[in-house]
């Protein structure tokens, strides 16, 4: 008896709740006022930390969890212990890179940004355009800080209009990983991984193993459909990713990932899957990692950040080589990925801003970078960090770790390897990924899919550029 009306009522309430919840989640982030607050966007000198009445609190928003988060917390504790009574840094995990950016955006609206925020490479232009941070260059100039030991490729990426905008911190570069045992089994030299697409195909033919019923047991190759790889392939082929000199000589207006080189790459990828030489993987990097560590794909592409996991989880010997080239005679540049640290000036006191810079300087020391690199597998931002005790120990145990540093050291720094700088870089990467995937799983040709993808991005760029004036 009671049941009927209650069901109806509850259902109606639910309906309203659904609608309300959908609306609420959209509006919460947009209800704040536009309080700008005080705070300077130029670097304060060391005097800002003199005559302190109390400990300066520094809030640090980041995206480092699990192992990476633990190593980072260790460094924060070390810094706090050294600066007891003067500076206290509080790290706060905000979620993945996209989430941290969304949180930061909401914080700008509400006028309560953190002192330091870790933002991924793709958010660089947005961070510049939102005008909240003290440019890194300002600190460097004020203190005469020597950026000499900092990795050139990283400075190249985070320098825009001749100014270093943020401090590289957790950065990586993609590599090719191989299953050395499979190489030996197939009679290939595990010390000489293939260098270009044609080479990978040739090796994959030897590495692919079929079972009794004709089905593939081990694919020669298998990597995620990951937009970052397109950026990497293009940099290595010395092709800019977007116009206006990769967005560094003026605002970019279009992306160029419909370049013949990329079309060739996607067609090659398609051929590898059609001929069952490559595992039919999707956009998820977790799936690709699992395929490699499970021995189902003998060669894969992944970030240096994945090396620790590969070494731990694989039941075979893992080798690492340079990221492949589209053609053997490509110039072989290399771009980086990962995030950098931004110090918010707007709404913060000089003491806080100065204290934030002290902390960032600490993170960039060879000692801290040695621990960071050894603990996480990220590059040592400070090249002297590779000589530190932790890093040396790790390099002795796993020589694979030095491949990434070598790849960067052997890479030219120019406008193509600086990477594209624009406000919708994150959407561009996804669009490239979707176009690539569309070519693989639908009847659309690679050329059509990629050019449709670039058109889509062009519209977004236009809108972004219009909204920042």
């Amino acid at each position: 008896m009671m049941g009927t009306p209650r069901i109806m009522r509850r259902t109606r309430t639910r309906t309203a709740l659904v609608a309300g919840a959908a609306a609420l989640c959209l509006s919460i982030t947009a209800c704040g006022g536009d309080s700008e607050g005080g705070g300077s966007l130029s670097a304060p000198g060391p005097e800002a930390l003199e005559d302190l009445d109390s400990t300066v609190q520094v809030e640090f928003w980041h995206s480092m969890d699990s192992t990476n988060g633990q190593v980072l917390n260790g460094l924060i504790d070390e810094f706090n212990a050294e600066h007891e009574g003067r500076i206290k840094v509080t790290g706060s995990f905000q979620g993945d890179y996209d989430t941290t950016l969304a949180q930061h955006r909401a914080a700008i609206q509400q006028g309560n940004t953190a002192n330091i925020v870790q933002i991924y490479d793709l958010g660089t232009q947005f961070m510049i355009d939102s005008g909240q941070t003290v440019p890194a260059q300002s600190f460097v100039d004020k203190d005469g800080y020597d950026t000499g030991p900092i990795e050139d490729a990283l400075l190249n990426y985070f320098t825009v209009d001749g100014e270093l905008r943020s401090f590289p911190f957790n950065n990586s570069t993609p590599l090719m990983y191989i299953n050395k045992d499979a190489f030996e089994e197939a009679g290939l030299d595990p010390e000489q991984p293939p260098k270009d697409l044609a080479g990978i195909r040739e090796y994959a033919e030897a590495l692919t193993v079929r079972g009794a019923n004709g089905q593939v047991e081990r694919y020669g190759f298998g990597a995620a459909v990951y937009g970052w790889f397109i950026e990497q392939f293009m940099a290595r082929a010395a092709v800019p990713y977007c116009d206006s000199g990769n967005g560094r000589e003026g605002r970019a207006t279009e992306v160029l990932f419909d370049d013949p080189n990329v079309v060739e790459l996607v067609e090659w990828w398609q051929g590898m899957i059609d001929d069952e030489l490559a595992a039919p993987l999707g956009r998820g990097t977790d799936d690709a990692q699992a395929a490699f560590t499970a021995g189902r794909a003998a060669m894969t592409l992944e970030s240096t950040g994945a090396m620790g996991g590969f070494l731990e989880q694989s039941g075979f010997e893992v080798g690492a080589g340079y990221f492949p080239l589209i053609h053997a005679d490509d110039p072989a540049g290399s771009i980086i990925g990962g995030a950098s640290l931004w110090i918010n000036g707007a709404g913060h006191s000089d003491a806080e801003t100065r204290a934030s810079w002290e902390f960032v300087q600490f993170l960039l020391t060879p000692a801290a970078q040695s621990k960071w690199h050894a603990g996480t597998g990220y590059l040592s931002v400070n090249t002297e960090g590779y000589n530190g005790p932790e890093a040396s120990e790790r390099a002795a145990e796993y020589p694979q770790f030095s491949v990434a540093a070598d790849q960067l050291a052997n890479s030219e720094t120019n406008i193509n390897t600086a990477g594209c700088m624009m406000g919708v870089m994150s959407e561009a990467r996804v669009a490239a990924e979707e176009a690539w995937e569309a070519a693989l799983v639908t009847d659309t040709t690679a050329a059509d899919a990629l050019s449709a993808g670039t058109d889509k991005v062009s519209r977004k760029i236009e809108e972004y550029n219009a909204s920042v004036g």
């Binding site: 049941g3 009927t4 209650r6 069901i7 109806m8 009522r9 259902t11 109606r12 309906t15 309203a16 709740l17 659904v18 609608a19 309300g20 959908a22 609306a23 609420l24 959209l26 509006s27 919460i28 982030t29 947009a30 209800c31 536009d34 996209d98 950016l101 969304a102 955006r105 700008i108 609206q109 958010g123 947005f126 939102s130 019923n213 089905q215 694919y219 298998g222 595992a279 039919p280 993987l281 999707g282 956009r283 998820g284 799936d287 699992a290 395929a291 499970a294 189902r296 919708v424 994150s426 959407e427 990467r429 996804v430 995937e437 569309a438 693989l440 799983v441 639908t442 909204s467 920042v468």
Partner: protein, 329 residues
């Protein structure tokens, strides 16, 4: 709803609103005595006072956001997400594209693929349990178990099952000598795979609701049916299923709304892909508003209003068409 202490108070408010809101219905012939008028006013005031807390909550969490969504849907954003310029209905007219049509079709298809197998599956399980098999209690708990899983953990587990290279499902197919299925990586399968996960997640709740419904079927009805010689399938079809009408209807409505709202499993399994084949309306809203460093709250809000209409439409349709056929005992 009916709270024990509120039994007299709602009656007061209901009677007063009824009297006020019924223009032609038996008005007092002569002016009522003053005390009565005052009494009545007091009652009305009291009613509003009791309604106030829920009205405030309702306004704060439903009406305000709804109004805000309408406002945002008519404005363009700056890069931080602040509404900066009025664009009228542009965001809505922009939705009249094949791309958005595909999102709507995907949403409806996903809803069908979740609701129909979900409700029928739960019904089948409950009927089997009712057929008097051994270990009925154990199986009832076992089948209700998915209810205890969070969307996130269930999705992660299914992602492992579906893994193209090392997943257990393809492993089984391989052992059987069958072809490999690209569960999440082909446009033909992705929506089915995500729906399958969702059906599994919803099954527990469905079983709980229907099992409770079966338990409340009067014993006399079943005994009468038995005396009339109805057993097994006949009894299930002619007695149990019709008497489960209210529960089945409830389940259909709730799972429709849940399906239209689904987000977690799509986000974890496919991120709306491949090639948008699992991009439902909610996922599309998320993509415009939050994903990939975007903050296009204007377009996202426009789509949120479309979702609102869609949920309203589906629910109205279910109440208008199906509920008429439900037999309430």
């Amino acid at each position: 709803m009916a709270s024990p202490s509120g039994t007299t108070l709602p009656r007061v408010s209901i009677s007063s609103t009824n009297r006020d809101g019924r223009p032609g219905g038996a008005p007092p012939r002569t002016g009522p005595p003053r005390t009565l008028v005052r009494e009545r006013r007091k009652e009305t005031l009291l009613a509003w006072a009791f309604l106030a807390p829920s009205l405030i909550v309702f306004a704060l969490f439903l009406l305000y956001p709804l109004g805000r969504t309408v406002y945002l849907s008519m404005h363009g954003n700056d890069i931080i997400g602040r509404p900066t310029r009025f664009v009228g209905f542009d965001h809505f007219s922009e939705l009249l594209t094949a791309d958005f049509g595909k999102v709507l079709v995907t949403t409806l298809l996903f809803t069908l693929l979740v609701v129909v197998p979900g409700v029928l599956g739960a019904l089948a399980v409950v009927l089997l349990l009712e057929s008097g098999i051994r270990g009925q209690r154990f199986f009832r708990s076992a089948f209700a178990l998915p209810f205890a899983f969070s969307v996130a953990s269930a999705s992660v587990i299914f992602a492992v099952f579906y893994n193209p290279a090392s997943g257990v499902l393809n492993g089984i197919l391989y052992e059987l000598g069958l072809g490999q299925v690209k569960w999440l990586n082909s446009t033909d399968w992705s929506l089915i795979s995500v729906s399958l996960t969702t059906v599994w997640m919803n099954l527990g709740y469905g079983v709980l609701v229907l099992a409770a419904g079966v338990g409340s079927i009067p014993r006399e009805v079943n005994e009468a049916a038995l005396l009339d010689g109805a057993t097994g399938g006949r009894r299930a079809w002619h007695i149990t299923v019709p008497l489960l009408g209210p529960q089945l209807f409830f389940l259909a409505v709730i799972s429709t709304i849940n399906a239209l709202q689904s987000f977690g499993q799509i986000h974890i399994l496919t991120q709306g892909g491949p090639v948008g084949s699992t991009t439902t309306l909610v996922y599309s809203i998320y993509e415009y508003a939050f994903a990939y460093g975007t903050s296009d709250f204007g377009r996202a809000s426009a789509q949120a209003l479309v979702l609102l209409l869609m949920v309203l439409g589906c629910t109205a349709l279910q109440f208008g068409v199906i509920e008429r056929k439900v037999h309430y005992s």
